[in-house]
């Protein structure tokens, strides 16, 4: 049953933004990690999103029901998913610290390429998107309630 309109799409988006926030939190937590599991400085992770066909459209296409205006509309309504979490390979700052166990021959340590300002901006953006999707879900439910109230009025 699909009484609340587009709840699937909104759920997908909330999920995607939450993953993004988790990754940002991980970046921030590892801003000073000079030795990661692979022995090198931590590399910031980046989440990529992509727009994909939603399940309703896939179902309609699958049942051979490919034509008509309604299906064109459905095809234009895309949902979102995380297409991957990749490492940002740009080099981090090199800091002179010969006392550090991770210093190279010249006494420099490579720091993680995490820039706090960038991470904070990303976190705020992701958070705003998350809140916006919550509002959409709330409105969707309000619309369903409104229709159901019509059934109850005597």
């Amino acid at each position: 049953m699909n009484i609340i309109p587009s709840l699937q799409t909104t759920g997908d988006a909330l999920n995607a933004e939450r993953i993004r926030m988790d990754v940002i939190a991980q970046n921030i937590a590892n801003a000073q990690t000079t030795r990661d599991v692979n022995g090198k400085a931590y590399q910031r992770k980046v989440v990529s999103f992509e727009a994909v066909m939603n399940d309703a459209t896939k179902a309609a296409r699958g049942s051979g029901n490919g034509g008509g205006d309604n299906n064109e509309s459905q095809a234009n309504l895309k949902t979102v998913r995380v297409s991957g979490v990749t490492a940002d390979t740009s080099p981090g700052e090199r800091v002179y610290n010969p006392a550090s166990p991770d210093a190279d021959k010249t006494g420099y340590v490579e720091m993680p390429n995490v820039k706090m300002a960038q991470e904070m901006v990303d976190l705020i953006t992701s958070s705003r998107a998350y809140e916006a999707n919550l509002t959409v879900a709330k409105n969707g439910k309000a619309m369903a309630d409104s229709a159901l109230r019509m059934a109850r009025d005597q």
């Binding site: 587009s6 909104t10 988006a13 999103f49 205006d69 998107a129 916006a132």
Partner: protein, 127 residues
């Protein structure tokens, strides 16, 4: 006989029922836009701009069949401009405003149709 009373909906009722479909569809469009607010290159979608004109036309001509046949569709919004270097055209505030308006419109249409049905029931009972 029941249809004499129930079948001849006033035009306003027909329009209200069609607009309910429109509001639900528009909410779906906004949900898709907001879901993809951070997707690189995503272009926002919305109701086909021709729909409003078609509806007004059919109402002015008192063409009930035309109203019934109207089909609202969701298309890419060609007039939307890119707000980010990656080409994404979604402006969160604008989408939220449209969605809030849509939800209220839907509620209003529900109230109107509810009142309409109630009146007919009262009319039948009062005799």
């Amino acid at each position: 006989m029941v249809d004499v009373v129930m079948g001849t909906d006033p035009t306003a009722s027909l329009v209200a029922r069609k607009l309910l479909d429109v509001q639900a569809l528009r909410h779906d469009a906004i949900a898709a836009n907001i879901a993809n607010a951070e997707t690189p290159g995503y272009k926002r979608v919305d109701l086909d701009p021709d729909f409003d004109a078609q509806l007004k036309d059919a109402v002015q001509k008192h063409d009930r069949q035309a109203i019934k046949n109207l089909t609202p569709t969701i298309v890419e919004d060609r007039s939307a401009k890119a707000v980010r270097p990656d080409g994404n055209t979604v402006v969160l505030e604008k989408e939220l405003m449209i969605d809030n308006q849509t939800a209220v419109n839907y509620d209003f249409l529900d109230q109107y149709l509810s009142m309409h049905i109630q009146q007919m029931q009262q009319a039948a009972r009062s005799n």
